[in-house]
Structures are given as C-alpha cells and as structure tokens.
C-alpha cells in the first residue's frame, strides 16, 4: 500500500502543477488571477474523475475499492443494527433451512449408496394386465441363469437373506446372513476394507460354494474388535466353520449392516426365489431389455403359471434407486418439504430485498448527494451490490452454522428403517457448494433491484424533497404487498401441514392397538436346522421351552408361534364352508399361536373358547378368528363351529419350514377374539385367523412373555433356561411391544417435527416480511402521517391506519393460504397423512397463530408511527 500511497500523492502533485502552470499562462495572457484559475480548472475538467481513472489503470483498484466498499458497508451495518439483525436472521433461516434439507435430500435421495453407478442397477417387475402396483419379481436360480443368457444384460446377480445361527461364542446368536452369487461383489463395485470379497471362483462349477464369509464392519468390530488378523479366522455358522476372507467398509450395507455375506450355493434344483438385479449392456435401452425379459417371462409363465400373474404379462425394469432409496412416505415428505424450503429461501430473499429497498429509500438523499458530487452510477450500483452480497455472505455463514445444528437434529429424528442404512446425512462439500451458490445468488438477486432503482433517482427532486417525496411507484408498492401476501399464504400452508402432521401423530398415539403392549417382551428363537430335522422334534423342543418359561417366577403368561406378535403373518386365500369368496384378492392373515396367546397379548375373547393344551399338542384342526373375520359370514350367523379352508395348508411349504404330510386344509372355528391392529397402527384391521402353532414348524419362532414387573428383568433367566435346554439355540434381539409400537410412531413423529419446525420458520420469515413492508410503508408515509396529525388525527387513529394495512395483507394471505391448504390436502393426503383431514380446531389454530404473529410484526412500525412528533414528521428529512 505504501507504493500506492506514494504514487497517488505524485499524481495529485502532478495534476496540481498542471493546473498551476495553466493558471500562470492565463494570467500572462491577461486574466485576473481568480478568472485564470477558474479557466484552468474548467479546461482540466473533473479532477476527481481524472484521478480515479488514472488509478483504475493500475488494476488493483478494484481491490482497494472492494475494501473501501466493505468498510463502508460494515459501517452502515453498525449504524443500523436493527435492519442488519433482521436481514441476517431472515437469511440465516432461509439459507440454513435449505442447506439442512438439501443435506438430507442429498444423503437420502440423491446419493444414498456407495455402489458403482447405483442409478444403472435395475430390478425386474412382472405385471398382469390390471396390476397397477409394481412388485419386485423374484426368480428361482434356474430362471436367473436364463436371464443371464439374455443379450441385453451385461451383469446379473442375486441376493437372498437367510437366517443363520452363529455358534461357538458364549451365546448362540441368530443373524440374517446375506447369500450372494459369485459375481455379486463385482457387480456392486465396492472395495473391501481388508481382505477380499466373494469372487466367482468361490463357487465351484458344480454349484457348491467354499465355506467363506465376508463380514460387515459392525460384525467385525463386535466379534473381532476390529483386528486385521481376523482374515483367515473361522466362525461357525449353522454348525459349519466358515473362513473370514474380508471385511467391508463401514458405509456398505448390502441388505445387512450387522451380519455378513456368504456365497450362494448354485443349486439349480432349489426353487427358492432369489432377488435378481441386473445392469444393461452398453448401448441397450431399457425398453429393449424389458422386451427381451418379457419374452422370457412369457415362456417361464407357461412352465410355472403359479409364479406369475394371470393374463397377459408386462415386464418393467425398476430403477434400484427408486425402489430402495427411501420408503415412499419418507420420499414424499422430503420432496414436499424440499419444495417448501425452496419457497422459504425465496421468501427470505424477498424479505431482505424489501428491507434493503426500505433502507435505500431512507438513504435516497445520501445517494443523490454522492451522485451529485460525481460518483459514477456503476460505482454506486457496485457499492450497493457489495453491501447486499456481504449481507448475504454473512447470512450464508450463519446459515451454514444453523444448518449444521439443524441437520444433526433431523438425523436424530429420522426413523432408522425409513432411509437406506448406507445413507450418510452430513453437510458435505456438495452441500456447501450449493449453499455458497445460494447465498451469492441471493445477494445478487436481492441487491440488484434496490441498487438499480436507487441509482437513477431524479437528483434534483430528491435533494430538494429530502427523500420524503420518493414514494415508490404504485406498482412497486403493490408488488411488495403481494410478495408478503405470498409469504403469508405459504406459511399458512406450512402451518396447515404441521397441524395435519400433529393431528395424525396424536391420532396414532391414541389408537387402540387391540392388545395390551405393556410389560410384554418379544424375542425370536432360532433352532439349528441340522439338529432339529423333523416336524415333531421342533414342536417338542418349543413345547418344552414354553413350559419352562412359564414356570419362571414373574412370568404371567407366555406364548410361542409365528405372526400376530403383533404384526405380520402369512397371507392365505381361503374358502368358507367350501365356497371361495367373490374376489380372488380377499385373503386372511394367518398366525400360528399357542394356547395362552390371547392372555399373553391381552386380546379379549369375544365368543366361544380358546385352544386347549391337548388341541395344540395333537395338532387339532381348530381355529380362532378375529372379529373382522367373523364378519365374513353373513350377519346373524354365528361362526363358532363353522368350517374354514386355508389354501396355505393345502400344499406343503418349502423347507426349512416343515409340515406333516397329508395335511388337510379344513378347520373348525372354536372362538372369536378381539380385533387388533395387525397391519400396523395406521392401517385398518385385516381379517385374521389363528391356528395351533404346531401345525406348521419353521426353524424360527417368536416368544412373547408377559411379566408382572419390568419385562427386561427376566431376560437373563430366559437366556439361561434356553441354554440349559440346548446350548446351540439362538435367541434374537429382545424387544418390548411398547418399543414395537413406538417404531410405528417414528415416521409420523418425524413428519410432525419437521413440518412444525418449518412452519415456525415460515412464520418467522412471514413476520419479518410483514415487519419490513409495513415499516417501509410507514417510513414513506411519515410526511402524510405528519399532515394527518397536524390536522387533528389522534395516536389511536394512526395506529389504526397502520394496523389496517397489516390486516389487509395478512387477511388476504390467510385466505389464499387456507384455500391452498385445502386444495393441497386433497392432493397430498393419500401420500403422507393418510388418515387425517382438516377439522375446525386445526384450521382455527392456524388462523390464530398467524394473526398473532402478524399483529406482533405490525405492532412495532405501528407504534413508531403513532409516536411520531408531527413537527418532525412534517420536516422529515432522514
């Protein structure tokens, strides 16, 4: 800077000399000294401009100027702290909210996976002529081999999770091991953390795989404490020792993030369906691939009609990202909120533009003065732009801080099963780039309009009038008011969304599940399939186990079985008294239960009786139904003693599920129990039938234990008893039914928290909007208010004047917002708030909240207007 200072002084001297010489010459030519100096100055022109331009030549000037502008801007901010604080708050909230939500959207929807080209992975769906729903179609291995032969596909792989028991440690433990075809890891394209992944050569040409296993990061940490020497060690899975060949990085969770991956035996005779995905050959379009696959499907459907929908088949390839990246509900909430947040950001910009405009108007005299003394228009615009960009960058920095906090909170709130387990939601580089762009654009966007406007005022008018005549044109004024109306409408929308979310959450919390979840512990129990190979062996073991558990002190009741604890179960077509129901789609939920099931779950018996111990033991063909199922019979018909046939009992299920041969599907109904929310709290009760659990014997069953005291307290005793009975039997993770119900509420709670948060944000921004526009109006009408007061208007009259302005804007926004919400509710309700609709109370709450905020925001400028001293107001020159 010293070089520059010297240079600058030199230039000044030089110009001075120039003028002096010219003056001297003029005097010599006969002018008076005063006249001579005047003529010299006139001849030279604008000294400041000459100096300015000379300095420009040296290029640094922009930096110097920037620094000057920055200092000037900072001084300006300090001088009007109210304006600065409100503008920064607005920007911080707008930018922060959009960064936070973008982080979530990026982590969950845009880049949820670490896989190679995840958006080029396709999953097949097969549809019948009238199927609107797209299910991922599963194929047995023999058919997958056929798909591999199709020329359209470059790579095909299959995944199937199976329950696997880990033994050899202190407690046997059940896992879902994920079986993969040999090329699967290469298909996914993620490198292992240590060791190697499963390769095609791990599966012999005969289809028999080597006993090798790749561990998840979590499993490795848990069982090997992250020791690199884990490679080559052995773990016992289903009684077979497997060699550990690799460990995957923490952010890899193909179908599991707590267990392990195993090579899938390529036994083509095994018709267990597997989950097939594929990548297309380069240059092949999705349509061509669909066509080829459809031809194959038609052929396969002719061979195995029961595996395909009836009628003409259509084949569709589903993008793996679309079907897995976030469950439907989460995805639609996120999209909706992302749109809302974009609008919030826009609102924040509009607010700041309004504030800036109000401020430049009050600065009109300063600006006119600077123009008059020769400031270039471009220079002035640049300075005003610098101010707004600085404001927005400061706002951006605050926004990032706010976003980091908000993202943490959102991550805490996100229910774990609703986003892919590989999603990493953080404020990352892309997000920062996004936010930087957003804040810069914001600055330019909201800085440009006021800057351009203020750089072309009528100089003379403004200087003469002292600023108070410079009311914006009627159109600009109306525009600003409309923007605020839009802001208010949007916050009404968000508020309405929040009220719906709160209501649907509250409704869910008050839903009677139909059973009593308190003090009930549920855990899975897995028998090693190699040891319990027959139907009778399994039933005997489980019967013994149940007896032992019931004898534990503190246990009130216990039940064992599959399904109905409280959800899931098989679905089966059925016949009543040998007659099929009218529609093929009608199914019954089938649960397998023991005799104390309804006591354990706390479900009331409505009619008839429960199963007897003898019926369970002898696998009697008896059934309990719920009330919904009882209504399948015509009104007035008592279903007790009637007959029911279940298709699921007709043909034997596949191993490892065991059923006695020669099963018959006919059941006699012995009792009716109360309805439970067997499809989830938010869904309607489905008709259900309960059978003695001994009728079908899978290796996995579930135990429910109702205790007198704290349910987890008996856990250790249960573990001990199980180990005494058979040390290789694995107990799954224990959960209480309260926890199970709690999981149901997670998504609604997330929606509620998110919508409420954004509604509060929207309200705050709308309040700032109302405040900025009303104060702008008041500032511009100070002169008018002074006249009114001078003519005898009282303070209350002025207050009323201003508050009326607020009421007009807020009222209009409210009406539009409400109409919009009702419209939007029609559109959105099927997606997010399936079971709720607006009622008087929630709408009234929205109206109240908004009115209160509008009044609060309008009060300050109104108060200021009311307290104006008429004399000052008339002389108003600020």
């Amino acid at each position: 800077m010293t070089w520059w200072k010297r240079h600058s002084d030199q230039l000044e001297d030089e110009i001075q000399t120039h003028i002096d010489i010219e003056t001297q010459e003029n005097i010599e030519a006969g002018m008076s000294p005063e006249e001579a100096r005047h003529a010299a100055l006139r001849k030279f022109g604008n000294v400041l401009v000459a100096k300015d331009k000379s300095r420009d030549i040296w290029g640094w000037v922009w930096l110097e100027r920037l620094w000057q502008d920055v200092r000037y801007a900072l001084r300006g901010f300090r001088k009007s702290p109210g304006f600065t604080a409100v503008a920064l708050l607005s920007l911080m909230l707008g930018i922060g909210a959009s960064i936070a939500l973008f982080s979530v959207v990026y982590g969950v929807l845009i880049a949820p996976y670490p896989y190679a080209k995840p958006n080029e992975i396709w999953a097949p769906a097969v549809l019948g002529p009238n199927d609107p729903v797209r299910f991922w179609h599963q194929y047995p291995l023999s058919e997958m081999v056929e798909i591999e032969k199709l020329p359209a596909f470059a790579d095909v792989m299959a995944t199937i999770p199976k329950s696997v028991v880990l033994t050899g440690g202190t407690n046997p433990e059940g896992f879902y091991g994920v079986y993969l075809t040999g090329g699967a890891f290469n298909f996914i394209g993620v490198k292992p953390l240590i060791g190697r992944t499963i390769q095609p050569f791990d599966i012999h040409p005969g289809g028999e795989p080597d006993a090798v296993v790749v561990l998840t990061y979590q499993f490795w940490q848990r069982f090997f404490s992250g020791d690199v020497h884990a490679i080559g060690k052995k773990i016992t899975l289903n009684d077979v020792p497997y060699t550990v060949i690799g460990v995957m990085p923490p952010r890899f969770g193909w179908w599991t993030n707590e267990a392990f991956w195993l090579p899938l035996p390529m036994n083509l005779a095994d018709d267990t369906p597997v989950n097939v995905i594929m990548r297309l050959r380069p240059g092949i379009t999705k349509e061509v691939a669909e066509q080829q696959l459809n031809q194959l499907n038609v052929r396969l459907a002719a061979e195995h009609p029961q595996q395909f929908p009836k009628g003409q088949l259509r084949t569709v390839l589903l993008n793996y990202m679309d079907i897995t990246s976030a469950s439907g509900e989460m995805s639609s909430s996120l999209h909706l909120l992302f749109a809302a947040v974009g609008l919030l950001l826009l609102i924040a910009c509009v607010n700041v533009a309004n504030l800036q405009l109000a401020r430049t108007t009050t600065r009109a005299r300063e600006i006119a003065m600077r123009l008059a003394i020769g400031a270039g228009r471009g220079r002035l615009v640049r300075q005003l732009l610098t101010e707004s960009v600085m404001l927005s960058v400061l706002g951006g920095v605050l926004g990032v801080l706010f976003a980091v906090a908000a993202t943490r909170i959102i991550v805490l709130l996100i229910p774990p099963d609703y986003v892919p387990n590989e999603s990493r939601i953080t404020v990352n580089g892309y997000v920062l780039l996004f936010s930087l762009t957003v804040s810069m654009l914001t600055g330019i966007l909201f800085g440009l309009a006021p800057a351009l406007r203020s750089s072309r005022p009528d100089l003379v008018e403004t200087l003469k009038d002292g600023g108070n005549g410079a009311t914006g044109s009627g159109r600009a004024q109306a525009m600003r008011s409309w923007l605020v109306v839009a802001e208010i409408s949007l916050s009404v929308l968000l508020l309405a969304g929040a009220s719906l979310a709160i209501r649907s959450f509250a409704q869910l919390m008050h839903t009677d599940p139909g059973f009593q979840p308190e003090r009930v512990l549920r855990m899975g129990i897995t028998l090693p399939p190699k040891q319990y190979t027959t139907f009778e062996q399994r039933n005997l073991f489980d019967q013994n186990l149940l007896e032992i558990i019931m004898s534990i002190p503190g246990v009130q009741a216990a039940a064992i079985g599959n399904g109905g604890m409280p959800y899931s179960g098989w679905e089966s077509s059925y016949s009543l008294e040998g007659r099929k129901p009218l529609s093929d789609d009608q199914k019954l939920v089938v649960s397998l239960v023991s005799s104390k099931y309804s006591q354990t779950m706390g479900i009331p018996l409505k009619r008839g009786r429960e199963f007897t111990e003898a019926e369970i033991e002898n696998v009697a063909h008896v059934a309990l139904i719920n009330e919904s199922a009882a209504r399948l019979w015509p009104a007035g018909v008592d279903p007790i003693g009637r007959h029911l046939q279940l298709d699921v009992l007709e043909k034997p299920l596949k191993p490892p599920v065991l059923m006695p041969s020669g099963n018959n599907s006919d059941l006699v109904i012995v009792g009716v129990i109360g309805d439970t929310k067997n499809g989830g709290l938010a869904d309607a009760t489905r008709p259900a039938v309960y059978l003695p659990y001994t009728m079908i014997a899978p290796p996995d069953r579930q135990i429910a234990v109702r205790t007198a005291g704290q349910p987890l307290a008996i856990l250790n005793v249960v573990r001990e008893k199980v180990r005494e009975l058979d040390k290789d039997t694995a107990l799954g993770r224990p959960v209480t039914l309260d926890e199970v119900l709690g999981e149901e509420a997670q998504q609604p709670r997330f929606n509620m928290a998110l919508f409420s948060g954004f509604a509060v944000l929207g309200l705050t921004l709308a309040a700032i909007g109302i405040y900025s526009v009303i104060s702008y109006n008041v500032t511009q009408r100070v002169h008018e208010i002074g006249v009114r007061m001078a003519l005898g208007a009282k303070r209350s009259d002025i207050l009323r004047l201003v508050l009326l302005m607020v009421a007009r804007v807020a009222g209009l926004g409210l009406v539009i917002g409400l109409c919009g919400s009702i419209l939007l509710e029609r559109i959105v309700r099927f997606q997010i708030f399936a079971k709720t609709s607006f009622d008087f109370v929630s709408l009234a709450a929205v109206v109240l909240a908004l009115s209160a905020v509008a009044l609060l925001a309008g009060w300050m400028p109104a108060f200021r207007a009311g307290n104006l001293d008429p004399v000052t107001a008339l002389r108003h020159e600020t």
């Binding site: 120039h18 002096d20 010489i21 030279f44 022109g45 000459a50 000379s54 040296w58």
Partner: protein, 119 residues
C-alpha cells in the same frame, strides 16, 4: 463539463490520444501540461483534449512500459514530472505510425472520386 464536446471538436479515440502522446515525446521529454499544449497546438486545436483525460492515458502508457517518468524542474522553475519514451515506446510509435499511415492512405483512396474509365 468535459463530456460535453462542442460540435466542431472531435472526441479523441483512446488509441489516437496514446499515439499523439508518443508522437509528442518523440522530440524529447516533456511534462503533462506541455504534452497537453503540444497536442492542442499540433492538431490545430480541432482535437482539443480535456486536459484531465491526459493523465489516465499517461498512466496507461507507463503501465505498458512505453514511457517512463522522472521528477524534474519546469521552464518556470516548478517541480514537475517529466515523461520520455522508452525503447519499447519508440518501437511502438514507429510501428503504429506506419500502420496509421497505411490506414489513412486506404481511407484517402476510398474517399478520392474514382477515375471513370472508358470515356
């Protein structure tokens, strides 16, 4: 106002001003006021320079290394900044002059009424 040129005066193109300065300095060193006077005189005051606009031009030429400046004493005993051509400046002047010559020859040919042939 300097920007308000009267009708019979031409506003100088930036390049022309630069060339005129170089041309002025070809006869020896001079300070700002002298350069301004000289340009005024030699263009017979048709091309009248707003004296202020001379200085940005001088700075520009200095930045490109075509002229150099040093402190000195003017004819009437004043401290002044004197400018002179550098070697690079002299080359530039030669180059530009010949280019200018070619250009003005071309213009002259265009503006001269063509000789009617075949009459």
């Amino acid at each position: 106002m300097t920007t308000r040129a009267s009708d019979d005066q031409l506003e100088l193109l930036q390049g022309t001003l630069d060339l005129l300065i170089l041309q002025t300095l070809a006869f020896g060193h001079a300070h700002g006021h002298a350069i301004a006077k000289s340009i005024e005189r030699r263009s017979e005051e048709v091309l009248q320079v707003g004296h202020g606009s001379l200085y940005p031009a001088l700075q520009r030429l200095m930045k490109h290394g075509l002229i150099a400046a040093e402190d000195g004493i003017s004819e009437n005993n004043r401290k002044a900044r004197f400018y002179r051509l550098t070697v690079k400046g002299r080359k530039k002047l030669f180059h530009e002059t010949s280019r200018w010559q070619r250009f003005s020859d071309a213009i002259a040919r265009i503006l001269t009424p063509p000789v009617q042939e075949g009459e």
